[in-house]
Point group: C2
Chain length 222, copies 2
């Protein structure tokens, strides 16, 4: 298997899930700005919109969308128990993956991380997102995981919530969410994924700043 | 079963899926502005954030999130063949449901339908959404359905694309998407759902305008 990822992007959830499963996989870093892999390949040939993660299932089959990939990993390694085994538990897993993806990732934190989005877009996302965090906080109060045990939904949620530190959202306002994130970060798979991707993220940010600075210097003063 | 819905909202996809399956269900209209059901009940007691759809599975179990509910309906009525039967087909179904939910619903059309969102938010959503529609158009070229046969993902996609008529997105720029939507609307389940919910939508919009006008009249001139 081969995971196309960007440092600290939502693809980190799949990395953590693969570690949970003890799976053998290679990891290909993607620069989501230039849409090139670390090896210089055109990433738009892998994913036409340039989104991560993409998982190559091993036979060249390319799987898109984090929520679908995470469930695929859970099904491929059932002994790792990354998803509930009962049908209603699977429905609940799908429910949380969908909520995290649409409401927290795309609707809130993904927008806040986009530095090119105007301030009005950030304000709008925060106004909408508050009720979602209230709901999440109520659900997580007195719970260790989203479901009865750790699942790929926790890997996804912890990854997204981790982004809050570089946004104006202070998770301390939602104590159960904040405590959950701290707890999740102590989990070996998540701690390892974070420790590995953090230096890559810092290097990526440095490259971005250098590229932006080069553009500014090449523009004649008006 | 009982479906909590708002007229022409994404819950229409679940209604169409229930019609496809010949399922017996009751439908409870929700006013997403006042967060009350048509019977006057507090909808926040059903869904803490007030989102539709919610499906009461029949025993009081409440299911959230359209993508999860659609897969539940497909699994509950396997003879209706609303989902692929093979494991990789199921992964692809999950992939499309996730893409529609995050990228087209929450990321694009859901934002454009929000009249309270500032213009900058609309502009941002359209700029991001164009590449998603390009990708969808390429996928649908020469295809009748998202997968090899009709699935709940088609019910969801057709519902979301139908919203374009009240936005500035002209689907004619994406001919395969446009042709797909026309074709989907001829499908009896979709045609019936649309015919039933359109009058309810018009009535809901009239109530909203009346409520807004009442607020304006009650505000003393400054």
């Amino acid at each position: 298997m081969k995971l196309y990822f960007a440092p600290l992007a939502c693809s980190m959830a799949t990395r953590a899930a693969l570690y949970e499963a003890g799976a053998t996989a290679t990891f290909v870093e993607v620069d989501t700005r230039t849409k090139r892999t670390a090896g210089g390949d055109d990433y738009l040939r892998v994913h036409p919109v340039g989104l991560v993660p993409v998982l190559d299932a091993g036979d060249g089959t390319l799987l898109f969308e984090n929520a679908a990939i995470l469930q695929y990993v859970a099904d491929r390694f059932p002994e790792a128990r990354l998803a509930p085994a009962d049908p209603m538990g699977r429905v609940r897993l799908g429910q949380w993956l969908s909520f995290i993806s649409a409401e927290l990732h795309r609707g809130l934190f993904g927008v806040l991380l986009d530095r090119e989005a105007p301030e009005a877009v950030h304000t709008y996302a925060i106004a909408r997102g508050t009720s979602r965090l209230d709901y999440l906080n109520a659900h997580l109060s007195g719970r260790e995981f989203l479901l009865d045990a750790f699942s790929v939904a926790d890997a996804y949620l912890a990854t997204i919530l981790g982004w809050s530190v570089v946004t104006t959202v202070n998770l301390k306002k939602w104590p159960a969410v904040s405590a959950y994130l701290e707890h999740m970060r102590e989990r070996p798979s998540m701690a390892r994924a974070l420790a590995e991707e953090m230096p890559m993220y810092i290097a990526e940010q440095s490259r971005k700043r250098a590229a932006e600075s080069a553009v500014v210097q090449a523009t004649p003063p008006s």
